[in-house]
């Protein structure tokens, strides 16, 4: 007979292993515990001893293959009375199963799963900690039978006089048109039912209902005191609430308490929640932020600077012939300051290449600018921004913003960024802790320019002040480099003339 050997969990909670080599070939005769393969797990390289004595019939996986635990890797032809092999005709319990299934099912037991169906196949397992444990499967659980309260069960243990009136299950749990909520409802109803039955309803007590029904009523804005309960002892059921809602609603059309009515009510009346599918830019942004926030250790620093000299410079430039018709904003100068400061602090313009275990330091700057577009956040970048003059940079910035707002940014402009700026000042915000655009080493948030009392040449004066917030990937950038960079940007904005000392 043919016996399959499925890859067991060779460590504690491993989900897959790589076949490094086979020590046997098809047709070879092997003895029990003869080493047949070398396998590498996340923890160790181990030798696999043959679980059977027999002849190799098939090698299901080739060397180099990463195999999920539970997948067959080799088949044996073994004598029918498999001798010491685990699938002997011995115990009734272990009898009909082969070793591979044992292996898989042992894993299930270890995870505390009462898997009632071995035929459900191997559920997808993913490690939650490196090397330890595996997530509990959401599939493969045995289906539970609907409860049949109170025909049997705890209610029978109650004294007769407090027992709920004899009802059929259907009366307690009216067929609910919302399948998704059926389970929850039926799960909870009996428990409350018993409590209520045991205590009885007292005068002045709140209307009798169950927690899911109270939640439903609250969501729909229904006062339960106005609803007549049709359940046992006046219990207000889900249907009662829906019925009440239907009769109250002009939009609902018919008075029937079915799902269509309910949906109509929800849409037509003061909606308390809106559910929007996670997709598109929102989904992408979420994934990017999660990836960034949980792979790059973020450190954020703040610097508040007197940017009055920069604002004065902006005013002069706006009046100059060279900049006629060019949109100049604090962002323009800040971007230029970033580009200048990067030359002195190249670590901020780098990338962590975990795959190759290398740090990539860029000798060019693709400057990303976070842009709020109708579709959501995008971060288009200006290619080789470090080679642009201030005029060209200003033009590129406004072109980039216009294109992004129109939703017409070309995909190449969205990739390949090396550092980013986010201008939260336009929303009147002072500072924040920006999350890195994935793959980049730093992001600078520009705060709003505010007139504030500020020290100026030994006196308090009304100055134009801005806060810079810099987040950087601490794997790539130490506090020293980040601080120096931020100080450089601040110094330029506080005194643009200092650029002469930096380039």
């Amino acid at each position: 007979m043919i016996k399959e050997f499925r890859l067991p969990d060779l460590g504690e909670g491993l989900t897959e292993s790589e076949i490094l080599s086979w020590k046997v070939g098809v047709g070879d005769t092997v003895t029990l515990n003869q080493v047949i393969a070398e396998v590498e797990t996340a923890k160790a390289v181990v030798e696999l001893p043959s679980p059977f004595a027999g002849v190799i019939r098939e090698l299901h996986e080739q060397p180099g293959a990463v195999v999920e635990v539970g997948k067959p890797i080799v088949s044996f032809e073994v004598a029918d009375d498999a001798g010491p092999a685990p699938s002997g005709t011995g115990g009734a319990s272990a009898g009909a199963r082969d070793a591979g299934q044992d292996a898989v099912e042992d894993v299930g037991r270890a995870a505390g799963q009462a898997t009632g169906e071995s035929s459900a196949g191997t559920p997808k397992r993913e490690p939650n900690l490196v090397g330890y444990g595996a997530v509990v499967e959401s599939t493969g659980r045995p289906a539970r039978r609907p409860r049949t309260f109170p025909a049997a069960g705890p209610a029978d243990a109650l004294p007769a006089e407090t027992r709920p009136a004899a009802t059929t299950p259907a009366e307690i749990m009216p067929a609910d048109p919302m399948p998704a909520e059926t389970t929850r409802d039926t799960d909870k109803t009996p428990a409350v039912e018993h409590t209520a039955a045991a205590t009885g309803q007292l005068a002045g007590e709140r209307p009798r209902s169950t927690p899911p029904v109270r939640k439903l009523a609250k969501d729909l804005g229904v006062d339960l005191a106005r609803v007549t309960g049709t359940g046992p002892q006046g219990l207000i059921t889900r249907e009662d609430v829906q019925h009440f809602m239907g009769s109250q609603s002009a939009d609902a059309g018919s008075a029937g308490g079915d799902a269509a009515d309910l949906a109509g009510v929800r849409a037509g009346q003061g909606e308390r929640e809106t559910r929007t599918a996670i997709k598109g830019v929102r989904k992408f942004t979420a994934a990017a932020m999660v990836q960034s926030a949980f792979t790059a250790p973020h450190a954020t620093e703040f610097l508040t600077v007197d940017v009055t000299p920069s604002m004065e410079l902006l005013a002069r430039l706006r009046d100059s012939k060279e900049f006629a018709g060019v949109k100049l904003t604090p962002l323009t100068l800040a971007a230029k300051a970033v580009l200048i400061a990067l030359r002195r602090n190249p670590a901020l313009n780098s990338r962590w290449d975990g795959e190759n275990q290398e740090i990539v330091t860029f000798h060019y700057v693709n400057l990303g600018i976070a842009a709020a577009t109708p579709r959501g956040l995008t971060v288009p970048n200006i290619k080789d921004a470090d080679s642009l003059s201030l005029v060209r940079l200003a033009e590129a910035l406004s072109a980039l913003a216009d294109t992004a707002r129109a939703g017409k940014t070309a995909p190449p402009d969205l990739s390949g960024g090396t550092i980013s700026i986010t201008n939260i000042g336009v929303f009147g915000i002072d500072a924040g802790t920006p999350i890195l655009n994935p793959g980049e080493a730093a992001i600078l948030a520009l705060g709003a320019v505010r007139k504030m009392p500020w020290e100026d040449r030994g006196k308090v004066a009304l100055r134009q002040v801005m806060t810079l917030s810099l987040s950087f990937d601490h794997r790539l950038v130490d506090g020293e480099q980040g601080s120096r960079f931020l100080a450089d940007v601040g110094a330029i904005l506080a005194d643009p003339g200092l650029v002469l000392t930096m380039v």
Binding site: L10, P84, P86
Partner: protein, 389 residues
């Protein structure tokens, strides 16, 4: 070799053991790595009764427990066990000490002392239950006077000290013996156990198998002095013995047991050995260990050593070797069969062996759980996992 009922009487314990103030003292060794029996002025006495036949028996025991270990490791690789902690290289420490005990002594061990359990007469299937995940403990401790293995590092030393306090109150002359590793000596539990053992002068033997590695932590990082010298801080006499020399281990254990039986209080034994395999089957020692180190220790292999001794004595006949191999294979077969035919527990078995007497709260929980299980689609499957398969 059967459990030692002798070993009582004899001269007072060796001086060096009573005054453990020296540092860097020599290992007690009775057999060299090449199998030469060397005489020792103090310790020869304690193994004077070991006959050639018993030496052969020790050889058999060590070979058998190595085979048990190999088989269990294979069973883990084949998916039959969740995990296994190999004892490869520590056979002499376990057999030499385990065979020195009396049946009424009580063992509190870590999870690696499967060789000691074998000496206590454990059912081989019982060793595997926990590692197969079908039971929360393998056997009734009182049937073999050995507690089920403790997973928490060093916690068993407290149990041993407590048990020894009980022996003292009973006025018995049995001894509690606790096994732990080098890493455990850094644990609070072990230190507390030694404080209490010294304070009450209870009959307990702290048997520390220094296998040089606490998973990936080398012993030199754990202690700047020899582990045996740690005992001096508690006022506990200690011995430092070649843990790969089964005779030396037996002699040292007998010294400690004798002191305990005579009311002399606790003894700390450091058996210097080496974990030649991984910490468990989930570990890869090549990632943190120098291969040369393993090679050095392989040259001091405990089984090769006793085999060399038998060879020198002309006892290592082909017949003996074949008998021992047959015995080992038979034991391995028995264990494999016991493992693969072990019935899965029923869901409600979790309520068994919790309290020795009926407990209404537990009964209630059991009743609830049974009713919960009954809500699953297949009534047979609810009660019996097997039924659903």
């Amino acid at each position: 070799m059967s459990t030692d009922e002798t070993g009582q009487g004899g001269p007072a314990a060796p001086n060096s053991a009573r005054h453990p103030h020296g540092q860097g003292r020599d290992l007690v060794q009775l057999v060299t790595p090449t199998g030469e029996r060397i005489s020792h002025p103090e310790f020869d006495y304690w193994v004077r009764d070991v006959t050639d036949e018993q030496l052969c028996s020790l050889y058999e025991d060590m070979t058998v427990i190595r085979r048990i270990d190999v088989e269990a490791t294979a069973l883990q690789r084949q998916g039959e066990l969740g995990l296994w902690p190999p004892l490869l290289g520590q056979e002499a420490a376990q057999i030499g000490s385990g065979r020195a005990l009396r049946t009424d002594d009580f063992v509190f061990s870590s999870y690696r002392e499967n060789g000691v359990a074998y000496c206590r007469g454990v059912d081989l299937t019982d060793i595997l239950r926990v590692w197969r995940g079908t039971a929360s403990s393998g056997w009734d401790p009182y049937t073999i006077n050995m507690a089920t293995p403790q997973i928490i590092i060093g916690a068993q030393t407290l149990h041993a000290t407590g048990y020894a306090m009980g022996i003292q109150n009973d006025g018995a002359d049995s001894v509690a013996v606790t096994y732990f590793g080098d890493g455990a000596t850094s644990e609070g539990d072990v230190n507390e156990a030694m404080v209490f053992a010294a304070s009450f002068q209870v009959p307990v033997v702290f048997f520390c198998t220094n296998n040089h590695w606490a998973i990936s932590e080398p012993v030199r990082l754990q202690s700047h002095i020899q582990l045996a010298d740690r005992a001096a801080g508690f006022g506990i006499p200690s011995l430092r013995v070649d843990g790969n020399d089964v005779l030396a281990v037996m002699a040292a254990t007998r010294v400690a047991l004798d002191r305990a039986r005579r009311g002399g209080g606790p003894t700390f034994i450091e058996a210097v050995s080496y974990r030649m395999g991984p910490h468990t089957t989930a570990d890869d020692p090549t990632r943190y260990r120098d291969a040369n180190e393993l090679e050095d220790w392989a040259a001091r292999d405990p089984i090769s050593r006793i085999a060399a001794l038998l060879e020198r004595k002309g006892l290592l006949s082909a017949e003996l070797q074949q008998d021992v191999k047959d015995k080992a294979d038979a034991v391995a077969r028995e264990m494999r069969t016991g493992c693969t035919t072990m019935p899965d527990p029923e869901p409600l078995d979790v309520f068994k062996n919790v309290y020795s007497t009926p407990n209404s709260w537990l009964d209630r929980q059991q009743d609830h759980y049974a009713r919960y299980l009954a809500t699953f689609g297949d009534p047979a499957g609810a009660v019996s996992e097997e039924g659903a398969r």
